[in-house]
């Protein structure tokens, strides 16, 4: 996969990209990953290889929401991924070829690039009844996943369904659906990017990290990157000050709702959920659900459809906090929030710091400042 590199200028010219634009893009990636500036050169080099790494995107029991989310990628735009950074050789929703030609393209990648390509998986994998609930080209999804993912250099499960089976797997799981890691156990270099859908900003950062270091960023016990899934939403929430001050939305559209008060009483799952949704946001950083006025549904949490619903039921208690807090407690909460902000600032170090022991942020009972320290 890593053939000799041509000079940067020549490589860029051959792709019709200006050097200035490209270096700008690499700088912003370094910033997203919170890497020290000295890594800029490594990123630039990695992204201008003469031969681009091959990526295949598999879709099983999916809604294509993760594909659509990838199309919304801004940094870099999806066209740069597809044309300049990678060779995106199989992706049902987007590829030119169809039928036999499409299947041949996938098979050629597995044959000619075994051990080198990146496999992205979207959707759950049905395991009941011999695989009849999802076939592509007459082949069962499970057989395709085993065949393609076992020979990949890295596997990226995007969205809740590919991670843990998602909605398809929720009770009563009519088709025996599983996430990739359970359907095909033992895959090497597997990273799970939960969320419904995945946030393309995180996926872009993971891809660039992998292209640069040939390695995945630091992961938690669910094989999720700590930089994206290491912090509690409640701790990063822009409505947090209202929570701390005891100001809540009581009814949809009431004065508190119009003033942007906390949505905890309307069922928000932010206190139990981890994700960098409030800081990265969606669609070019435009917004995120809580900003738009609705509670978080914890869509990046494990098995969230079953474990975090009903979505309008107020959480019974928030570890360490309460809705009817005293002044003393409010003071403690405010301190904790400052600690959390500091944690967020240093979270970038988690990307490269693989020496850190794996931690579970999800559902943690520890106060925020003790995590990620």
């Amino acid at each position: 996969m890593h053939s000799p590199r041509t000079s940067l200028t020549a490589a860029l010219k051959s792709r019709g990209v200006s050097r200035r634009e490209f270096v700008q893009f690499c700088s912003s990636m370094v910033a997203t990953l919170a890497l020290p500036p000295r890594y800029l050169g490594a990123v630039v080099k990695a992204l201008t290889q003469a031969s681009r790494p091959v990526l295949v995107w598999l879709e099983f029991q999916d809604c294509a929401g993760n594909t659509e989310s990838m199309l919304r990628s801004s940094n870099p735009p999806v066209a740069e991924f597809v044309l300049d950074l990678l060779s995106w050789e199989y992706h049902e929703t987007l590829m030119a070829g169809a039928g036999k030609q499409a299947e041949d393209a996938l098979e050629r990648v597995v044959r000619e690039h075994a051990g080198e390509y990146i496999a992205v998986v979207e959707g759950a994998i049905p395991t009941a009844d011999g695989g009849v609930y999802c076939t592509i080209g007459g082949k069962a999804a499970l057989d395709i996943a085993k065949h393609v993912c076992s020979k990949a250099a890295a596997n990226i499960a995007v969205g809740a369904c590919a991670w843990d089976g998602g909605l398809v797997r929720s009770s009563p799981n009519p088709t025996g659906a599983l996430g990739l890691h359970e359907a095909v156990p033992g895959l090497k270099n597997l990273i799970n990017l939960g969320g419904c859908p995945h946030n393309p900003a995180n996926t872009a950062a993971v891809l660039v990290h992998y292209l640069t270091f040939h390695d995945l960023p630091a992961l938690d016990e669910y094989n999720r990157p700590l930089f994206a899934y290491g912090d509690i939403i409640h701790d990063q929430c822009e409505r947090r000050a209202h929570y701390d001050a005891g100001r809540f939305v009581e009814e949809w559209g009431d004065e508190g709702h119009r003033k942007g008060y906390c949505l905890y009483k309307m069922g928000c799952k932010g206190p139990e959920a981890t994700y960098n949704c409030p800081t990265v946001r969606w669609n070019d950083g435009t917004s995120w659900p809580v900003k738009a006025g609705h509670g978080c549904i914890a869509c990046a949490s494990h098995r969230f459809w079953d474990t975090k619903s009903p979505f309008y039921k107020r959480l019974p208690s928030v570890p360490g906090f309460g809705v009817d807090v005293t002044a003393d407690e409010i003071g403690w909460v405010a301190t904790a929030a400052v600690g959390a902000a500091m944690v967020a600032q240093v979270a970038g170090n988690m990307v490269r710091d693989k020496l850190r022991p794996k931690k579970t942020a999800e559902g943690t009972k520890e106060p925020p400042e003790s995590r990620g320290a």
Partner: protein, 569 residues
Amino acid sequence: MARIVVDPVTRIEGHLRIEAQVEGGTISDAWSSGTMFRGIELILRGRDPREAWIWAQRICGVCTMVHALASVNAVEDALGIEIPDNARLVRNIIAATQTIQDHVIHFYHLHALDWVDIVSALKADPAKTAQLAQSISDWPISSEKYFKGVQDRVSALVASKQLSLFGAGYWGHPAYRLPPEANLMAVAHYLEALQFQKEFIRIHAVLGGKNPHLQTFLVGGMATAMDPNEPGATINPERMDFLVQVAKSAIGFVNQVYIPDVLAVAGFYPEWFKLGAGVGNYMCYGGYPQGSIKDPADFFLPRGIILDRDLSKVHPVDPANVTEYVARSWYEYSGGDQVAKHPYAGETNPKYSGPKPPYEFLDVNEKYSWLKAPRYQDQVMEVGPLARLLVAYASGQPEVKALVDATLGKLKAPPAALFSTLGRVAARALETQLLASRLVGWIEQLGDNLASGNVRIHNGEKWNPNSWPKTAQGFGFFEAPRGSLGHWVEIEDQAIKNYQAVVPSTWNAGPRDARGQRGPYESALLKTPIAEPDRPLELLRTIHSFDPCLACAVHVVDARGHVLARAEA
């Protein structure tokens, strides 16, 4: 005689397989099969109806939000909830934004490569390409330098021998007929549309928190709090300005890029205005309420049915006449598979009887799809942008009539040309144009309400489940980008008892019924020429013209609460 199989049909949402019989260079018969099944409606049973929309929305991530809207419509119908006018406007804005963005992505990223040969763009003269582009549109960036840059990018891709997404296309196929300059222009706009769709959809981010899978619907209204003086409100004057600005940018892109491109491409393929019509019945539930949702006569796009291509009469739609067959689908009905069932009485027991994977061919004389076959009074119906446009045109909707007549004039074609593969493509583009201009109006209306202090966004009278009757049932209709969508819900003891969706791509991509009537895809493929059976480009043209969405199309309902039976494979 040859059997051709296209599986996967790519550049669609979901998993679709087409088998077709080719005789003497044309398709003599065809079978459409959905090859994936999830069972979302079964998963919905027993849950809080107020959150059904969050689950149902995940039926599809391409036409995201359409199932959310149909779901809240259905629950509001069941509980007798009238939503505030602001919520109606926000929903119209979100829905129109979805349809505009979806149609643009469909044309450029899912359909264009059936008409546009990327490799041929290498032979184009960038100066002549600029002349061509400037002759059909005043889009400001169409310079020689711009097209040269795009061509360099394509050249580099081809020279690298790594064609990425474009690697396995049917390049050089004899059915491609655009000159190199038109191909280069289209490739440039393919890339521009990629940029457009992600910028434009920021309207959804503001009003829905994110796209895909928006998160601000509520039974009774929307969670987008409004206030003219509060920066913490989702809808405030600053964000209204942003929405207007983004919406106006869509008018520019649609009128100056999308519409001219569709007309230019269509001009090179006139015979495709005669091919691919299919059944000739068209149904539309009606879309975009301008007042109460109970008053479809007042919708922006009217409700109705056109039968047998007769534009002189619009027939009414009665929801009671919608049924589904499973005679050729991998399910079984109690009482036999030969009868159709209405959604309220429907049932779904999956019973796979197809070949064990891996397989080469389906047994198309038996059951062959995970899609059911919806019918209206036992008749096959095509749904989608063309159906909407034809119903509106035949109903005399003035805006639609003027636009369609003007476009047919430019193409020097009679209205009958719309009954075709390219008719679907043109109808989709014209609908985008209509909605883009209407979108700005709805946003401005919302802004006027905001400025006047009308900030009511939710009707909370029935939010508390204790206010509900013991049992209730209702349905929600909506015109999704791909056509008529209906959700039916039955509520008992504050929980969902039954839930069912009858979805646009089920209407269009469904298999034969008990009477052997072909579904719309299957009919539309008849007589399609196939120059090279191992590269069936022409087949893709007609299938893609429907904009298939298979995740939507396959679902399971068990209205009687049966435990889902596992198939004996």
